[in-house]
Amino acid sequence: MKRFLHSPVAVALCAALLFLPLKDLKSAALLFVFILAGLYAAPRIRRIKIPPLPFKLPRTEGPLQILAVAVFALLPLAVKDYYMDVLIMFGIYAILALGLNVIVGFTGQLNLGFAAFYAIGAYTYALLNTRLGLGFWPSLPIAACFASLSGLVLGVPALRLKGDYLAIVTLGFGEIVRIVLNNWDAFTKGPNGIAGIAPPSMAGISLGKLQHYYYLVFLMLIAAVFVIRRVESSKTGRAWLAIKENEIAASTMGIDTTAYKLYAFAFGTFWAGIAGTLFAGKMQFVSPESFTFMESVLILSMVILGGIGNVYGAILGAFILVIMPELLRDAQLYRMLVLGICLVALMIFRPQGLIGAKDASAGR
């Protein structure tokens, strides 16, 4: 009996039975087959050697960057509105992933509440616009700075903690922000959300049209890449890297670790504020529903999937995780399942992410 309980068949059966009340018999049977196959395959799969990337990334980024910019600049001429919409969301998530990558990827500080800063950016613009009639352009820096400031406010107490403890505090902060937005009816209109946010305009022309908005998001993404790359290769970027590698060694190098960790928090959340404003401007509606814990996990998954500590990795991760659910629309319910399987597979085969910064296996 005991042997049976530990067999893959029993495990798969249990999982399938637990799943049964949620869906019909057919999907439970399907799940049973999948888990059983997975459990049998897992020990064998690990032994398969995965070859390195089949192509070599060019040494200089120039040509790739120009190609990518050209492709994305020309896309609106070719694609339908539906894809435009998806690509705008990709741009917003890419900015978010870039921001989180500064904190998690460059500095090595786990943050599970990043959606809070995204929410703060979005609500700042929504409130400034609907209550004070402030336009998109003046609101953008205010929202970004406000998100950045809240990053600092969280950072001061939270950064005394490390690892798991920091993760829990940031997770808690994310929930606090969402719950406050949900319950402070008088100010944020609670779960009903804020509607009627004006889209941005430029020189008197509204940018509400999808194609125009696409270019706006696209330019912001380029700006984010440019600025973050510059900071990454500056002295500040080096200090972040040293803190990620070994905090004690970093402080014996004369790096003020507390200050640099705070910079990373403030700088990363700044981009969350930008992304939030862009999101509010696009949807013309915000509600707490858009900023749940799952959103934080999704952004973190983008960073991990693409490659921790790599700017282009974060963008690639955002691309995959925004586009993939659209392609899998029919299998909407299994989205998180597929995502989980993908991440587990990634941890086994490429722990540094698809295009990771440094080979994680090189000594410890």
Binding site: E245, A249, T252, G254, A362, R364
Partner: protein, 232 residues
């Protein structure tokens, strides 16, 4: 140059230093020896600002530095080579050295050449990740990294720890070399014999107090030291 007076440091309720007085003059190699738990590393970490003292004074070049943040102390010219080396394993040897110059990158190229002449093996491996070096090479890298800050004083915490004897003598020779070029060194060591031969002066610590002090030569011939630390 550096003077500790009446220094007390504790880890919570455990008193690790119970009022020690130590002096390091410019151009000296001073060595702290003692058994495990005597407070040697605690003394170094209190100097470098990683630990805060309960009481007592640390004076460096006439300036009180006790309780200052580690990065400020590095800025004043005291670099520490931490115990267990703590190099950045995934960064290349060159990147490790670059980070050493974080607070002070004046004359970067010259300092780098100097370190490569002290440790030619680091030049050969400058593009390799630090984690792939051998223990001895990592120790060299840790010393080289500390020297990149062009410190006035170098604090070394057990540089011989876990190294092959031939590496130990190579590291000690380099410490002497650094000293000959005018560097002041405060060294903590378990390897008492080699350390006392090298040191101008030495202090013997025992459960948080200074038990003996004198020139390296004197202590090497001291009856008590020979019994307790040299195994004779």
């Amino acid at each position: 140059m550096l003077r500790l007076s009446g220094l007390h440091t504790s880890y919570g309720p455990v008193k690790a230093l119970k009022g020690i007085d130590i002096e390091v003059r410019e151009g000296e190699i001073v060595c702290l020896i003692g058994s495990n738990g005597a407070g040697k590393s605690t003394a170094l970490m209190t100097i470098s600002g990683v630990l805060k003292p309960d009481r007592g004074e640390i004076e460096f070049e006439g300036q009180r530095i006790e309780g200052a943040a580690p990065d400020k102390i590095v800025g004043l010219g005291i670099s520490q080579v931490p115990e267990g080396r703590r190099i950045f394993p995934r960064l290349s040897v060159l990147e490790n050295l670059e980070l050493g110059a974080f607070t002070n990158n004046a004359g970067y190229g010259k300092k780098l050449d100097h370190i490569f002449s002290l440790f030619p093996v680091l030049k050969e491996r400058s593009k390799q990740p630090g984690g792939t070096l051998s223990g001895g090479e990592q120790q060299m890298l840790a010393i080289g990294r500390a020297l990149m800050a062009a410190p006035k004083m170098l604090l070394l915490d057990e540089p011989s720890l876990g190294l092959a004897p031939i590496m130990v003598s190579k590291i000690f020779k380099t410490i002497k070399e650094i000293n000959n070029e005018g560097g002041t060194v405060l060294l903590v060591e378990q390897n008492a014999r080699a350390a006392l031969r090298l040191a101008n002066r030495a202090y013997v610590l025992e459960s948080g107090t200074v038990k003996l002090h004198g020139t390296g030569e004197d202590l090497l011939h001291n009856e008590e030291v020979r019994k307790a630390y040299l195994g004779e």
